[in-house]
Symmetry: C2
Subunit: 215 residues, 2 copies
């Protein structure tokens, strides 16, 4: 996809250049998880990476640009999420297992990348098409698979005709993402992490199949 890494002014980046570029990305990523997005300054990132602001601007047009880059890398890894739903059964005990593993994998992925995902979410909500497309890219694999699962059950007459597979799948994915973002919120609400998961799995199972799971 990305044939060559290029600097802002069009030069092709070599070995060393790519290294510092990556270092800047790493430092920015770290910065995002330790301080509010709004307060992340180019100069801090540069200092942390042992270089100067000017260098940063050689590789990225601005902070947002760099964030998009990080998010892009993450989206690529996010493809692993597909495996959580693709080709799985939603019937009987296997269905319950599928729901559980989906929830587990999803929360884990989100927790691992929470800082960057927050920013992507904000960008998307603010209407920025780039972030918005990126968010789709990440969620699409899961969403499409879920949507297919609903559609298939529907064709077999196991799910009502007036259910919109895409809407249900989208809502469930949004739920998982939101809960993952606010995991800490649930704790103070008196819900422990361990308790949360099975209840989420239950909701997912109910949403997809319309039935309570057989455990």
């Amino acid at each position: 996809m990305t044939g060559q890494v290029r600097t802002v002014d069009g030069r092709v980046a070599g070995r060393r250049g790519q290294a510092t570029r990556q270092k800047l990305l790493d430092c920015l990523s770290e910065m995002l998880s330790s301080s509010p997005y709004r307060d992340v300054k180019v100069i801090d990132v540069a200092r942390k990476a042992g270089t100067s602001p000017a260098t940063f601007y050689q590789y990225f047009p601005d902070v947002e640009g760099a964030v998009l880059e990080i998010a892009e890398q993450m989206a690529a890894e996010g493809a692993e999420l597909t495996g959580l739903v693709q080709g799985r059964s939603w019937v009987g005990k296997a269905g319950w297992q599928t729901a559980q593993e989906l929830v587990d994998g999803f929360l884990e992925f989100w927790r691992k990348n929470d800082a960057i995902l927050r920013v992507v979410d904000l960008g998307a909500a603010e209407g920025d098409k780039r972030f918005y497309k990126l968010r789709m890219k990440i969620l699409n694999s899961v969403n499409n698979s879920l949507s297919d699962a609903v559609a298939e059950l529907q064709s077999k007459g196991k799910v009502d005709k007036d259910v919109n597979p895409a809407a249900v799948a989208g809502a469930l994915v949004a739920m998982l993402a939101a809960v993952a973002s606010h995991q800490k919120g649930f704790q103070t609400w008196g819900v422990k992490q361990a308790e949360l998961k099975p209840n989420l799995a239950l909701l997912v199972h109910l949403g997809i199949t319309g039935k309570k799971p057989t455990k």
Copy 2:
């Protein structure tokens, strides 16, 4: 609660002062819906309000402080959400109606205040306790009512014992909030606003009662 409105340096604000203060809040609010949170500058808000940056800092410690103020006002209005669930029935056709009206009211409220809610969400996700408490305050009314509903059905033996009411309620509320934030996202996903609502209502009904609604 707030006995007197005070400036940062401790003076009590009079008629005129409160007016400019409110004007600044209004302008900030408008600013937030038209440009990314990260790019909202004090000087722009001040200019828009026909005053100077120094005046802004007389009433608010920083942009964040002003945002919290706006959010607080909104949270007060958010109490109206309570009416969407409190004392409603979740049985039979009435249950379906309850679910529909909840979804409707929730989406409407979110759409009306989306700009500020985005920022609150971000702040909460970033771990800022003030935003986080505020988010709770807004969602608590709905969340508690839903939680109670589940607990009640549970005591009647209509819902499984191993369901955690708070977890389910929290997840459903998070889902509604997330879907509301990304309503545009669903459109490009091929799901129309009108189609989305009943499917959300279905999920809510399933989650609360464990059964398909009778329409």
